[in-house]
C-alpha cells in the first residue's frame, strides 16, 4: 500500500525538482542570497519555512470558504505573521545565537514570495491535506537549494561545515592549508550566492531540456 497517492506524491516531488520555487519560478531569492554563507542558518531557515508554509497552507485551506475574497491578502498576512512570530520566539528561546545570526530574515519570511504565492495559488482552492503536502513540498524545494548553496559557500568560503573545520585549520596550517590552500573570500559575499544558484539552474536545465524557456 502506498503512503501517498500518485497525485499527492506529485505535490511533494514536483517542487523538489522540475517546479522548484527558486530555480524554476525564481522566487524567494533574497533570503537565499542573504543567509546562505553558512550551512547552519541555511538549514534553520529551511526548517522555519517548512513549518510556516506547511502550517499556513493548512490554516488558509481550512478558512478558504469563509475568507471574503476582497480582504484575503490581509487574512493571509495575519496568518503568516502569526506563524513567523511563533518561529521567531522559539528560535530566540532555544537557539539565541542562531536567531541573532538570522536577524531580520526570520521576520522577513512574511515577505517571502513563495509563501503568499502558495496561499494564493493552492491553499485557497484545495483541501487541507493537499495544501499541507503542497506547502511542505514547496518549502522543501526552497530548503534543498538553500542547503546546497549553504554547503558550497561554507565549505569553500570558510573551510568549515556546520562550524567544523573539515579542511583543516587555516591559522595553524593543518590539513589542506598546509599545502597552501586558502579560503575563497568571494564565496562569503552575497554575489557568489547568486552565481552558485545560477550554476544550479544551469546544471538543472541542461539535464532536463524541457525546462528551458523559449
Amino acid at each position: 500500500m502506498r503512503l501517498l497517492s500518485k497525485k499527492d506524491s506529485k505535490l511533494i516531488m514536483d517542487p523538489l525538482a522540475d517546479n522548484n520555487p527558486i530555480t524554476i519560478q525564481v522566487l524567494g531569492i533574497c533570503s537565499a542570497l542573504a543567509i546562505t554563507a553558512q550551512l547552519k542558518p541555511s538549514i534553520v531557515m529551511a526548517i522555519s519555512v517548512i513549518f510556516v508554509l506547511g502550517a499556513g497552507n493548512v490554516v488558509i485551506s481550512l478558512m478558504r470558504n469563509i475568507i471574503p475574497s476582497k480582504i484575503r491578502i490581509i487574512v493571509q498576512l495575519v496568518v503568516v505573521a502569526t506563524l513567523v512570530i511563533i518561529v521567531d520566539q522559539v528560535l530566540k528561546a532555544y537557539a539565541y545565537s542562531l536567531s541573532k545570526e538570522l536577524s531580520v530574515f526570520i521576520g522577513l519570511i512574511i515577505t517571502n514570495c513563495i509563501i503568499m504565492g502558495r496561499f494564493e495559488a493552492f491553499a485557497l482552492a484545495n483541501g487541507p491535506w493537499q495544501s499541507f503536502l503542497d506547502g511542505v513540498g514547496n518549502a522543501l524545494g526552497y530548503g534543498v537549494i538553500l542547503v546546497i548553496v549553504g554547503f558550497f559557500r561554507e565549505l569553500l568560503g570558510s573551510g568549515t561545515l556546520m562550524g567544523f573545520k573539515v579542511l583543516g585549520d587555516p591559522v595553524e596550517k593543518t590539513g589542506l592549508y598546509a599545502i597552501g590552500y586558502e579560503n575563497n573570500g568571494f564565496m562569503v559575499l552575497p554575489p557568489m550566492a547568486l552565481i552558485v544558484i545560477g550554476i544550479i539552474i544551469w546544471v538543472q536545465r541542461s539535464k532536463n531540456k524541457e525546462l528551458i524557456e523559449d
Binding site: 586558502e182 552565481i195 545560477g198
Partner: protein, 408 residues
C-alpha cells in the same frame, strides 16, 4: 610530410565528429584554413578576428618584456643587490640580464597557466556545443598574467581563469557575447576571493610574501616592503618615487601595468592600426583628469585637510593619477575591448569618460579598493548596452523630427 599535411589529414579524419571543432581550431590557429569562402559578394578585408587579436598581442609584448625586467629589478632592489635607477629610461641598473632572467622564470608560468587553462576550457566548450573555437581568448590569455601580482599562487590563477572563462564568457555564449571583460572578471574574482594575495604592501615584489612569513616565524631576514604608490598615498605615506620613475614604470605593481611610457606607445600603435578606439582612450583620460582636478580643487578650497583619510589621494596632482596604478593599462587595453564597450561613437565618448571619472572616484573614496579602474570598467561594461540604446534612440528621434520639419 609536414605538420600542415598531418593536421589536414587529422582534420579530414575527424570531420563531422564530436572532436572536429578542436582540430579545426588548431588548424586555423596555425595555418590559413583550406576551406575559405570562394568568390561571392563578400566585402574583402584582411582584418579578421585573428588579425585583430594578434595586433593587440603585439601591442602587449613590450609590456610583458618590461614586466619581466621590472620583476627582477624590484626584487634585487628590495634585497639590496642593486642600486635604484639613475640614468633615465635606459639605465643599466634596470636593463640587465639578471633582472630579466628572474622575471622570465617567474612570469612565464603565469602566461602558460593562463593560456593552458583558458584555451583548454574554450576547446572543451567548443567540443560540447559543437561550435568552432573562437580566437577570443588569445588576448585575454595575454592580459591576465600582466594584471596579477607576480607571486600569485598558481592554483589561485587556475581557479580564477576557469571561473572567469566559464562564468564571465562561456555561459553567455562565448566570444562576442560576453557582457563583462573576461580578463577583468578573472582579476576581480582574484581580488575578492584572495584579497591578501591581491592587495596590500607584501605582494608586489617577488618573494615578499614568503619572506614576510619567514620573519613571522622568527627568521632574521629583512622585510621587503613593496607598497604600491596608490597604497602609500591612500595611507598618506611619503612616496619615494619620482614622477619620471612612475612614467617609465620603475615602480612596484602588477606584472605588466607599471610602464606608462610603453602603454602610451602601444596605445598610439593601436590607434594607428585602428584596432583600439581613440574615442574611448581620449575620453577616459579626460574623465580621469576632470575627476582628479575636482578633487584637487576640493583640497585647494580647504574642505579637506590633512587630518582627513582622503587627503593623500585627493591632494595628488590630478595628472599623476594617469601614471600610477593600472589606470593607463586599463584605458588602453581593457576599456577599448570592442565586445564589452560601447559600439556607437557618441556612446564611446560617454562610456570612456565615465570609466575615467568613476575610476578616480573609487580610488579616492575607497582606499580598500585601490584599483578603481578595474571596478569602473566592469561597471561601465554593464552599462554599455544601455548607453548605446539611448544614443541610437536619440538619433532616431532627431531624424524623425527633421523629417517632420521637411514635410510641414
Amino acid at each position: 610530410m609536414g605538420l600542415k599535411q598531418n593536421l589536414h589529414k587529422l582534420k579530414e579524419k575527424y570531420r563531422g565528429t564530436k572532436m572536429a571543432p578542436a582540430f579545426n581550431a588548431l588548424h586555423t590557429f596555425l595555418y590559413t584554413p583550406n576551406d575559405t569562402a570562394q568568390g561571392g559578394t563578400h566585402i574583402k578585408s584582411a582584418d579578421d578576428l585573428k588579425r585583430t587579436m594578434n595586433t593587440v598581442i603585439m601591442a602587449l609584448i613590450p609590456c610583458l618584456i618590461f614586466g619581466m625586467f621590472n620583476a627582477g629589478y624590484q626584487h634585487y632592489l628590495a634585497v639590496g643587490d642593486i642600486q635604484a635607477v639613475t640614468n633615465g629610461f635606459f639605465s643599466s641598473e634596470f636593463w640587465n640580464l639578471q633582472n630579466f632572467i628572474l622575471g622570465f622564470w617567474k612570469i612565464l608560468p603565469l602566461v602558460i597557466i593562463s593560456y593552458g587553462v583558458g584555451l583548454g576550457i574554450e576547446f572543451l566548450f567548443a567540443v560540447i556545443k559543437g561550435h568552432e573555437v573562437e580566437e577570443g581568448y588569445l588576448v585575454t590569455g595575454m592580459l591576465v598574467p600582466l594584471i596579477v601580482p607576480i607571486d600569485i599562487p598558481w592554483w589561485m590563477l587556475i581557479v580564477a581563469v576557469a571561473f572567469g572563462v566559464v562564468i564571465g564568457k562561456e555561459v553567455f555564449g562565448g566570444t562576442g557575447m560576453n557582457i563583462l571583460n573576461p580578463a577583468l572578471t578573472i582579476r576581480a574574482f582574484l581580488f575578492f576571493a584572495y584579497p591578501t594575495w591581491m592587495s596590500g604592501d607584501k605582494v608586489w615584489v617577488e618573494g615578499a610574501v614568503e619572506r614576510t612569513k619567514e620573519i613571522a616565524n622568527g627568521s632574521t631576514a629583512d622585510a621587503i616592503s613593496g607598497e604600491t604608490i596608490l597604497g602609500s598615498l591612500a595611507q598618506s605615506h611619503p612616496v619615494d618615487y619620482s614622477v619620471l620613475d612612475m612614467f617609465y614604470g620603475f615602480i612596484p605593481g602588477s606584472v605588466g601595468e607599471t610602464s606608462t611610457l610603453l602603454i602610451l606607445l602601444a596605445g598610439l600603435f593601436l590607434i594607428f592600426t585602428k584596432i583600439g578606439s581613440w574615442r574611448i582612450m581620449l575620453s577616459a583620460t579626460l574623465g580621469a583628469l576632470v575627476m582628479g582636478y575636482i578633487f584637487n580643487m576640493v583640497v585647494d578650497a580647504g574642505w579637506i585637510t590633512e587630518t582627513s583619510k582622503f587627503y593623500g589621494l585627493m591632494s595628488t596632482e590630478f595628472w599623476h593619477h594617469l601614471i600610477i596604478g593600472g589606470m593607463a593599462f586599463g584605458i588602453v587595453y581593457m576599456a577599448t575591448d570592442p565586445v564589452t564597450g560601447s559600439q556607437t561613437n557618441r556612446g564611446k565618448w560617454i562610456y570612456g569618460f565615465l570609466i575615467g571619472f568613476i575610476s578616480i572616484m573609487i580610488r579616492v573614496f575607497n582606499p580598500a579598493y585601490p584599483e578603481g579602474v578595474m571596478l569602473a570598467i566592469l561597471l561601465m561594461n554593464v552599462f554599455a548596452p544601455t548607453i548605446d540604446h539611448y544614443v541610437v534612440q536619440g538619433n532616431v528621434k532627431k531624424r524623425l523630427k527633421r523629417g517632420k520639419l521637411k514635410t510641414a
